[in-house]
């Protein structure tokens, strides 16, 4: 409960900060302090030292996994603000409002990690999405940002409609908004409708489609590249990591208990979605010229891997999704922080970065290696746990092989950036880089390698 209440309050605090001061560094500092407060409060909650108790009528259910996931999300946001806070300041003079919206998004995440029923799922997703529509269009005078925002908004609310239809049909079939809604057959036999099972399956399929859209899994991924490309880079970084991971958590939680209703169809459906996502993400990413757009497609490809946790639905899958969140968030936030410092977003814009900015190039290399899943980086163990969980759950081996093959494809486009940085001549234009920024980047790189060598660090935090 702490995280939900405090993130909402701190969001309002951030809005007021904008009234009392115009100095952007002060606003960023307030945001950092607020995030640290939020992190502390949530940690206290996870260890049972201080928690606000409110009777939620069983709409919210707090467990250790959800609280730990909250901690990860808030910590990722903290790293994000520390590294990219100066970029948020550059977008416009409404800095405080952007931070406020980020806190509201965190409130949505906290609801999504603890929901227990369709009502809170719906509210959590909306609280998460609505601030994002605004953040996507934050750069008001940039046409691309406008366009991305409108597109995201229209597609997002369209899917909300579909999701609500799914929920309504489930409610009609079972008479409850609870999580475990396996056929109680509450429809009176005289109603003449084709039986509750039909309504329930239709409802679940609609929900599945809507959740696939929210985490941008194929075939509902078409909005992702445009929105990620058009949004200001800082917020793309935020969307691609924290928001996506929270959506995933909700997705897994929703179908962990409900998927049995769909029977064997569920596995076929899900493996189709996984393979399509891997295919669409990886193959299209190969042909991109802009690195930002390439990262958008690669984030679709990473979703394919994360979906394995949904497929396996066991403890290894849970550990895997936690590791994946950490690995993917660290690498993406780190790489985006570097990307924003480079003026030209094409591959050529990175030519020769290895000689002009050795620290940036080094950290970028670590991040990209982690995204590609090379051993000794966090990404390797994340991918390993995902595949191991599928094997443990007795999933088909061909899916694991396909995933490994696509991981090899992904190495191609990640290495293209590394090649541009170290093996090509050029004078990349970068904005000014402070010592503190470099230090922060090195810490991120160190964290990636540390998790890559000892993944148990993250998992131990979860178990103890």
């Amino acid at each position: 409960m702490n995280a939900i209440i405090f993130s909402a309050i701190l969001g309002v605090v951030m809005m007021f900060t904008g009234i009392f001061t115009d100095k952007k560094p002060v606003i960023t500092l307030t945001a950092i302090i607020s995030l640290i407060v939020l992190l502390t409060v949530n940690l206290l909650n996870s260890y049972g030292l201080f928690s606000i108790q409110i009777d939620t009528k069983d709409l919210l259910h707090f467990n250790k996994l959800g609280l730990f996931f909250n901690t990860l999300m808030i910590a990722a946001t903290l790293i994000f603000v520390l590294l990219s806070g100066s970029e948020i300041e550059k977008i416009s003079n409404k800095t405080a409002d952007f931070y406020a919206l980020i806190f509201f998004v965190l409130c949505g995440t906290a609801i999504l990690t603890s929901y227990n029923g369709m009502l809170m799922l719906f509210l959590g997703i909306e609280i998460l999405s609505i601030p994002l529509y605004i953040l996507t269009g934050a750069d008001k005078h940039n046409l691309k940002s406008n366009e991305a925002s409108l597109k995201y908004f229209l597609m997002g609310s369209f899917t909300t409609g579909i999701m609500l239809m799914g929920i309504a049909l489930l409610y009609g079939a079972t008479g409850t908004f609870g999580m475990a809604s396996v056929g109680t057959g509450a429809l009176p036999p005289s109603s003449g409708v084709q039986g509750p099972a039909f309504l329930q399956v239709a409802g679940l399929l609609l929900l599945f489609a809507a959740m696939c859209f929210k985490v941008s899994a194929a075939p509902f991924h078409f909005w992702t590249p445009d929105v990620y490309d058009g949004a200001p880079s800082v917020f793309t970084s935020f969307m691609a990591t924290i928001v996506k991971a929270a959506g995933f958590f909700a997705f897994i939680k929703l179908f962990a208990s409900n998927s049995s209703l769909l029977g064997p169809t569920w596995n076929i459906l899900l493996s189709f979605v996984i393979v399509a996502t891997l295919l669409a993400g990886n193959i299209t990413a190969v042909f991109q010229r802009s690195i930002k757009r390439m990262l958008a497609y690669s984030s679709i490809a990473q979703v394919g891997f994360m979906l394995f946790a949904l497929y396996s639905n066991n403890d290894l899958g849970t550990e895997g999704i936690l590791l994946y969140t950490v690995a993917y968030s660290l690498a993406t936030i780190g790489f985006f922080a570097i990307l924003m410092k480079v003026k030209d977003y094409t591959f050529d814009g990175f030519n020769g970065l290895g000689t002009t900015q050795p620290v940036l190039a080094f950290v970028a290399t670590i991040c990209l290696l982690s995204l590609a899943g090379i051993p000794l980086t966090a990404g390797f163990f994340a991918k390993y746990y995902m595949l191991a969980s599928v094997v443990k759950a007795g999933g088909p081996l061909w899916m694991v092989i396909v995933a490994v093959l696509f991981a090899a494809v992904s190495a191609y486009y990640y290495f293209k950036v590394i090649q541009a940085m170290y093996f090509k001549e050029g004078q990349p234009e970068t904005s000014e880089i402070t010592g503190g920024f470099k230090f922060g980047l090195l810490l991120v790189a160190a964290a990636i390698v540390l998790v890559g060598v000892l993944p148990s660090i993250v998992l131990n935090c979860f178990y103890f």
């Binding site: 369709m118 529509y133 406008n146 366009e147 229209l154 609310s157 009609g172 109603s191 409708v193």
Partner: protein
């Protein structure tokens, strides 16, 4: 009235909404169609709520089953209002920059 009338009516409204979103090119009309989808869901929820309530009353004269469906409708209305405020702001922002609310305009990002 039997429940299936409500179901078919809601599904019809919902489908009109979907068709509108997929075929119309004016951002405002697309937006209205999305609202239509949400309201179709509202209607369906209320109908189901009444149905479950009626079924529960047969066994227990003081049953309150089915209230949660109507509660959900209020939440949907609130969220839809929030979405409208954000969505119209976005459309106005785009209109200021392009002097058009045509969705066909949204293909600049492709290249």
């Amino acid at each position: 009235m039997p429940i299936q009338y409500y179901i078919y009516f809601s599904l019809a409204l919902f489908s009109i909404g979907i068709i509108g979103v997929l075929t119309r090119r004016n951002a405002i009309i697309v937006f209205m169609c999305i609202e239509l989808m949400l309201n179709a869901v509202n209607l369906l929820l209320v109908a189901f709520s009444k149905m479950h309530h009626g079924a529960a009353l047969l066994n227990n004269a003081t049953a309150t089953t089915g209230v949660e469906g109507q509660l959900f409708v209020f939440f949907i209305m609130v969220v839809a209002a929030a979405e409208v405020s954000v969505g119209l702001a976005i459309i106005v922002m785009m209109y200021r920059n392009t002097h058009s609310v045509d969705i066909n305009f949204l293909n600049r990002l492709k290249n």
